[in-house]
């Protein structure tokens, strides 16, 4: 207990200086509301898992989503990943083929389905999505992870995408890929690609598993052999080199579902955290020479506090205690609790899920996507988690629901979190078979909206409406020497004696990607005293006295420009 108490104390010390509101007051007045704008905004998407009764493993795992600005107009668009019917099991009730869906932001709160026009009306068994401008042409490119062959789509800048899988050198790799992210691991200014693979699976080798001993159910990964993750180095000529083996990433025992980038050791070189299902998580420390070394065990992130490998699903990394260090959230299976890790003074991670209140609240949940975001713009990062079981017959066996309510843990600022999902409206807490979650300010009002996907179900778009009058500042970074998306840039603001930090990053969550601009909640403050940007190239820039309530575009080496509003 003493250990827990001291941990809480450390957290509270690191948090904002304002007195922490009580849990009840947070619940009664969360400071914001969510409004379900899925249908009015024109999002009509239903995920097709292809489930026909065969209970094939991939059916229960997809799919992801992304907020990204594909047309460069400054408004966040939406990409939703879809599966397909299994060969030989085509279901004819669908009015149209189940393809990826690209929704263009109409800048008025609505979206238009531009999938066909963009050339993305393609059927594939898609799982996840990673967005990054890998060719530094200013246009966001897309990687779709699939069961089978992953697909890379290059953005032409004319509203269309071209499938460059083959020409990029990514073809010929069959796997059950899950999450992926773009990052510049060798800091050459080019985004490299990391892809998680789950297990060695094919329909022909699907294993019969059963919860009740009679009927087939979805297997847990113990039934299958692991599959290594992949690391592809960007050669800068539109092609990629598979450096999985030479970089030390290769690990045939991994059963990876989530990946997040972080700079765990503050050396300016991006490290990777990979969550594995029933296998130890991996923390790949960048050796600064093109190689990685797994230090998860030493760092205390590989296993649970009991020394057991949990079923790691989604992951996100952020400075949730405003200590300047990256904290970690990892969703797990039901009865395993979400892991909430804080970097201790000793340099290793300590799971503070229990003292923070996240542990117990997530005990009966099977978590997937998770994102840190400042939902109420109070200056402390909150945690949104989507939950949902993998088997629809689970309730008959264990009493745990198949559809489960998403959770939104408001950061109390004193080391504890309070789930306010039921209080923020919009039907957000209605049970869902949640999988992916991403945030982005699609309506450019300065707060972060949420996009959720559900397995074999609809996607949900929740608009965030602030009710407490908190302000924010948003920064969009454009790299010049660094990769153009500035992925890997560390942004830190100082305001009224407190500081917050963000990392521009892709990946995180589960199969999904949030927007790249960073958002800082300022509470009632209306300006930022100091903004410090450390670019992936190593360049550091500092700006002073920035007004809140608006967005800024910061171009590496060229200064910062205030936008009109957000």
């Amino acid at each position: 207990m003493a250990g827990l108490a001291s941990t809480s104390g450390l957290l509270s010390d690191a948090f904002a200086t304002t007195p922490a509101p009580s849990a009840d007051s947070r619940r009664s007045n969360p400071g914001f509301r969510l409004v379900d704008v899925t249908v009015p905004s024109g999002i009509h998407f239903r995920h097709n898992s292809g489930a026909y009764g065969g209970k094939l493993l991939p059916e229960t795992l997809g799919a992801g989503c992304a907020f990204f600005d594909y047309d460069g107009d400054g408004w966040q668009d939406i990409l939703l990943v879809n599966g397909v019917d299994w060969p030989g099991h085509k279901r004819d009730h669908r009015p149209e083929p189940s393809t990826l869906k690209l929704y263009r932001n109409n800048r008025n709160g609505t979206f238009s389905d531009v999938t066909r026009g963009a050339g993305l009306d393609l059927e594939m068994y898609g799982m996840g999505v990673a967005v990054g401008d890998y060719d530094n042409d200013g246009w966001a490119d897309i990687l779709i992870t699939c069961v089978g062959q992953n697909r890379l789509f290059r953005n032409t800048g004319k509203g269309t995408f071209v499938d460059v899988t083959k020409s990029s050198g990514l073809s010929g790799r069959q796997a059950m890929s899950t999450s992926a992210l773009w990052f510049d691991f060798d800091r050459d200014g080019l985004l490299d690609l990391f892809v998680c693979n789950y297990v060695k699976w094919s329909p022909e080798h699907d294993v019969f598993c059963s919860l009740d001993g009679k009927h087939k159910s979805y297997c847990t990964p113990e039934a299958y052999r692991g599959e290594t993750c992949w690391l592809f180095r960007n050669r800068g000529n539109g092609t990629f080199e598979d450096v999985t083996a030479t970089s030390g990433i290769f690990d045939s025992s991994s059963k990876s579902l989530g990946v997040a980038m972080l700079d765990y050791d503050h050396d300016g070189w991006p490290d990777l955290l990979v969550t594995n299902d029933t296998q130890p998580n991996k923390l790949y420390r960048n050796q600064r020479n093109g190689a990685f070394k797994d230090v998860a065990v030493e760092a205390g992130i590989a296993f649970s506090a009991e020394g057991r490998a949990r079923a790691g699903m989604g992951v996100d990394v952020a400075d949730f205690d405003n200590s300047g260090n990256p904290g970690i959230a990892i969703t797990n299976f039901d009865n395993e609790m979400t892991g909430l890790y804080r970097l201790s003074d000793g340099g290793n991670y300590v799971d503070v899920a229990m003292p923070s209140g996240v542990g117990l609240a997530s005990k009966d949940k099977l978590g997937f996507g998770c994102v840190f975001l400042d939902a109420d713009l109070d200056g402390a990062l909150d945690l949104a988690v989507v939950n949902g079981h993998i088997d629809d017959t689970v309730r008959n066996v264990s009493g745990v629901g198949y559809a489960q309510p998403p959770q939104l843990f408001l950061n109390s600022g004193n080391g504890t979190f309070v789930d306010v999902a039921a209080e923020i409206g919009g039907g957000f807490s209605q049970p869902k078979v949640g999988r992916g979650i991403a945030y982005g300010d699609f309506d450019r009002d300065g707060d972060l909206d949420l996009l959720i996907t559900s397995n074999n179900g609809p996607a949900y778009l929740y608009r965030n409406d602030q009710t407490a009058g908190n302000r924010s500042i948003r920064i969009r970074l454009v790299g010049t020497k660094s990769n153009r998306d500035a992925i890997g840039a560390a942004v830190k603001i100082y305001s009224a004696g407190s500081s917050q930090s963000r990392l521009v990053k892709g990946g995180s969550s589960y199969l999904s990607q949030s927007e790249l601009p960073v958002t800082f909640g300022l509470g009632k403050r209306d300006k930022v005293d100091r903004l410090v940007v450390v670019w992936p190239s190593g360049r550091t820039e500092e700006y002073k006295n920035l007004a809140g309530g608006r967005a800024y575009e910061c171009v590496e080496g060229k200064g910062i420009t205030a936008q009109a509003g957000f």
Binding site: R173, R225, G226, T228, D242, G248, F250, D251, S252, V297
Partner: protein, 461 residues
């Protein structure tokens, strides 16, 4: 008198010499304490043995088994990795697995190091050496395999894995399994021994409790017996003391009665005869002669001596008690006291009188006499109240004064007070010394003698 249940004979025989129970009780206490110390020592020894078993065997075994399981898990990971390497379905050279092997090696080395620290005491040096050398040989072979793989000799490396690495891994796995089985067996044996210790301790606890109960039982019986003896002794001594007091009082009364009678009968007769003879002799002397006057004077002296002898006789033992009873004696005696002591005595009688046996009457009389003696000597009072109450079941006599009173503690009571108590007890009654009622000023002394009626009517003393 003998209503306490003490046999009369015992009052006369001296009590049997009986030793104090303290030495035996002290001995019993020492034996009990020694038994507790011995038993505590025994329990402590058993507990330390249990702890030793828990710490050195069971806990150590469990910790060791956990490390062995970790080693086994690492060996399984290596086996899976080798299977993947041999399956050849990855597009990567065999060297890709070197990082994976290295990770397992790091963990395996750590597990082996920890396992050696907590290895059970019954692990033989041969077993230790076998594990150590086998792991070393495995990694040597693995290193050679990766050297081959690096040298583009993938096929040879795969053969090495097939024929050498896998065999070594399987042998290691078997050895670790054996150690795990050995640990399990040791743990089962330890559990058995622990069970035996618990059984033994349980038996000893029952035994100790039984012995303690028996000791308590015997000690209690012994104490009861000793107490009974002590009380019997006390009762005998008390009876002896009462008997002695009774005899003393009886002897005193008998002596006084005898002297009184002698004085009355012998000296009285002699003096009466002398008086009569002197009177006759005087009558023979001439009238108004000097001789006649002198004889008359001698005659008057003789009469005075006779009166004094009679008065002394009456004082020593009022014959009236036997002749006319207690009431009349008191009627006579109290004015005598008034006259002799110069105090005023208010005498009250109440109730329907009943006859009082002569032996009892002398005791009542003596108590009143002693009370009035004390009053005149010590109280300084000039007035006294004597009350004689005939109650249906008892006789009550009170002597009260409002003088100085006395607070003498029992231990310093004079012989007179002791005698009053003894006489009261002889009659089966009580005597109380109290202060008069507050309405009477609260000063002085009230002596109250209460004697049951049946004792007065049939007093055999």
């Amino acid at each position: 008198m003998y209503s306490r249940g003490v046999p009369r004979s015992s009052a006369f025989s001296s009590p049997a010499p009986h030793r104090s129970p303290t030495p035996k009780l002290f001995l019993g206490l020492i034996i009990t304490l020694a038994a507790v110390v011995v038993y505590s020592g025994y329990i402590t020894r058993q507990l330390s043995g249990l702890r030793e078993l828990q710490n050195n065997l069971v806990d150590r075994n469990r910790k060791d088994s956990l490390q062995l399981l970790r080693i086994q898990n690492d060996l399984n990971s290596l086996a899976l990795a080798m299977r993947d390497m041999l399956d050849n379905d990855e597009p990567y050279p065999l060297t890709a697995w070197s990082a994976q092997f290295q990770r397992v090696r790091t963990d395996l080395d750590d597990a082996l190091r920890r396992e050696q620290q907590v290895a059970p005491v019954n692990r033989t040096p041969e077993q230790e050496r076998y594990l150590e050398t086998s792991v070393g040989q495995f990694w040597d072979a693995a290193d050679r395999t990766f050297v081959l793989a690096q040298g583009a000799k993938q096929a040879e490396a795969r053969i090495q894995i097939q024929i050498s690495l896998r065999a070594r891994q399987e042998a290691l796995s078997t050895a670790v399994s054996r150690l795990l089985v050995q640990n399990n067996e040791s743990e089962e044996q330890a559990a058995l021994r622990i069970g035996q210790i618990y059984d033994r301790v349980q038996r000893q606890v029952y035994l100790f409790l039984t012995a303690t109960l028996i000791a308590i039982l015997f000690t209690s019986l012994y104490l009861i017996r000793s107490n009974r003896r002590l009380f019997a002794q006390l009762a005998a001594l008390s009876a002896q003391r009462s008997e002695l007091a009774q005899k003393l009082i009886a002897t005193q009364e008998s002596t006084l009665r005898h002297i009184s009678r002698e004085l009355h009968d012998e000296f009285g007769q002699i003096l009466t005869a002398v008086g009569m003879m002197l009177t006759r002799a005087g009558n023979q002397a001439p009238e108004k002669s000097e001789l006649r006057a002198e004889v008359r004077e001698v005659c008057e002296i003789t009469q005075s001596a006779l009166d004094k002898v009679r008065s002394l006789s009456q004082a020593l033992h009022p014959v009236m008690l036997e002749e006319t009873g207690l009431e009349s004696t008191l009627d006579w005696y109290l004015p005598v006291v008034e006259r002799q002591a110069g105090i005023h005595v208010s005498y009250e009688k109440s109730g329907e009188s009943f006859p009082v046996d002569g032996n009892a009457a002398i005791h009542v009389y003596r108590v009143v006499q002693e009370a009035l003696n004390n009053l005149t000597r010590h109280s300084g009072a000039k007035e006294a109240w004597v009350r004689l109450r005939f109650m249906p079941r008892a006789l009550e006599v009170e002597v009260e004064d409002h003088g100085r009173g006395f607070d003498a503690p029992a231990a310093k009571q004079g012989i007179g007070l002791v005698a009053m108590r003894e006489r009261a007890e002889l009659m089966g009654g009580t005597v109380d010394f109290v202060r008069p009622a507050p309405g009477e000023g609260g000063k002085g002394t009230l002596v109250r003698l209460t004697v049951p009626r049946e004792k007065l009517e049939s007093h055999g003393g």
